[in-house]
Subunit: 327 residues, 2 copies
């Protein structure tokens, strides 16, 4: 019987090489390996208490009682932890983000990273990082990447234990800044889980996946050598490929808004003018402008004057999940 | 020695299944078969006179002396006609469009269809339609589709003579209307010839081509049975696939403007509301809204209220090239 309380914090992450589509939907084994960095300053904070005498799990989200759909996804994850780790009892979960959910900043990544870390610690378990990443992955694929620190690679594999994430460089290796242009704060129409399931309906998904290892190798090398020009090329290529798959799925998924397209064009133009900036987009309309250390302030200024930009956030690379056992 | 004058008129065409990329660049043998209809009301009118005592070919375009690049492309085509057909002498060509060039309405298609027809007729040749389509193709691939009438299929093949176009239904078979929302009148940054050459640099082109025969079959059947719902699905899918290839080419080609994206989203929404409309885009930002006979007026009205739309043209299916020998 697990009784105890723990507290965890995790950052969302931005993928430079994207995760889109699974080879196994249930286990969230990704079609291809991916690479990201954590976003410092943005975080999910989650506290889990395992309790004996309760009739079920409960969830407080951003200070309010969670909706049924939110609660069910958390219960599914807790069920999986109970069955994998032999934890008994029910959990009371309180979780909050300091950034808006469902708008292209991957809230499910930080949420399931923090939940997995807090729930296992509250149960008195001391799991190694690799195991934590595989368990977080079962809740939300990209959550695996929010467990390790800094720049993180998540390995594709056919086996649950081998599809884990690990840091390839610490947060302070390269002070890139993710300047996020928020063009919509409404919750996206098609969530990532449904999106991943639709990837295989695109005639182009296999071709995207076939080239992913090459792109990952280029991107890893660009990160390790701090080569911004090489990074920019492969990051935009990979983002364009993912959105090409999305918009050719059946039914098609169009995540871009007109302002998204305008900013993408502007970023490409700014780069030809010498500014160290490139874009990448997740399953949403907001644009992540990945900037070299010197370029972030200028990019922020220029974004402010583009019509349709409703908010701008900046985040340098961040650390991994932090865990504190309270009782 | 060819001496004589002839006059030809041809319409541009809008592809429902797209031509993008060649298996042979020089012969413009397309990677995949395509299907289009001619656009009535929009036309290129070309007059060719073969003259003995002249030092070279000359070209008047829309009432002005042609630029060197325009003249060279016409000379290349005339050289090809001279060598294929044994025509001798030089040509004086006068050509004009009643629609703006280089803005997503395929002016090179109608231009090379009319030029081929006028030049061969002026030389006293009476070529069959199939031969005319293969010769027009050598000037501009999609020009093959502007020779036959109505709804036209252009066959992919490894052999010059077998990559020809033919009508699959006359213009009055189905009164679809192409309502063209013009969002930019500036000449496109990357012309189609360079674009076709770049198609193979996309990791996605092979996958697009692999599915083209299936889409062509679906589209042909939708046209022949006048099944708008089936047409809409495959036409948008095929256009999205071509633009997916374009934006993942190296370097990427982005033809869409913010207004383009807004109209694409609007068209998909209007269709779910019951309006018979779908979109297709060529290598440019303007949107061709293919409408069922009853929907065109309403689509036109709705487009007028969308910001960024600078002009609207409507065209029902048109006939094939017309030729008049004057002397």
């Amino acid at each position: 019987m697990a009784v105890g309380t723990a507290h965890a914090q995790a950052h969302p992450n931005i993928a430079l090489i994207k995760y889109w589509g699974n080879r196994d939907e249930r286990l969230r084994l990704p079609a291809n390996s991916s690479l990201s960095f954590n976003l410092s300053g943005l975080q999910t904070t989650t506290q889990v208490t395992w309790i004996e005498d309760k009739s079920g799990d409960s969830l407080i989200l951003n200070g309010r009682e969670a909706r049924t759909d939110e609660l069910s996804r958390v219960i599914r994850h807790l069920d999986m932890l109970r069955s994998h780790l032999g934890i008994r009892g029910y959990a009371h979960v309180e979780s909050g983000n300091n950034f808006p959910t469902g708008t292209g900043i991957a809230s499910s990544a930080s949420a399931f990273a923090a939940l997995t870390a807090a729930a296992t610690s509250a149960a008195g378990l001391h799991l190694d990082e690799r195991t934590l990443t595989t368990l977080a992955r079962l809740g939300s694929g990209s959550a695996a990447r929010s467990i390790p620190a800094g720049f993180v690679e998540w390995h594709a594999s056919d086996a649950h234990e081998d599809s884990y994430a690990e840091s390839i460089a610490p947060a302070d290796h390269w002070t890139l800044i993710d300047v996020i242009a928020i063009v919509s704060t409404s919750h996206k129409a098609v969530g990532s889980t449904a999106g991943h399931a639709s990837a295989a309906t695109s005639d182009l998904q296999n071709a995207r996946v076939a080239g992913a290892e090459r792109r990952l190798t280029q991107c890893r090398s660009a990160v390790l050598t701090r080569d911004f020009a090489a990074l920019a090329e492969v990051v935009e290529e990979d983002s364009n490929l993912m959105h090409a798959v999305m918009m050719t799925s059946r039914p098609p998924l169009f995540y871009w808004l007109p302002a998204t397209l305008a900013i993408m064009a502007a970023v490409r133009r700014w780069r030809t003018e010498g500014l160290q900036v490139c874009y990448t987009l997740d399953a949403g309309p907001n644009i992540h402008c990945i900037c070299g250390p010197e370029a972030a302030a200028e990019v922020r200024n220029r974004l402010q004057s583009i019509s349709g930009v409703v908010d701008i956030r900046s985040a340098p690379p961040g650390g991994g999940v932090t865990i504190e056992r309270l009782a």
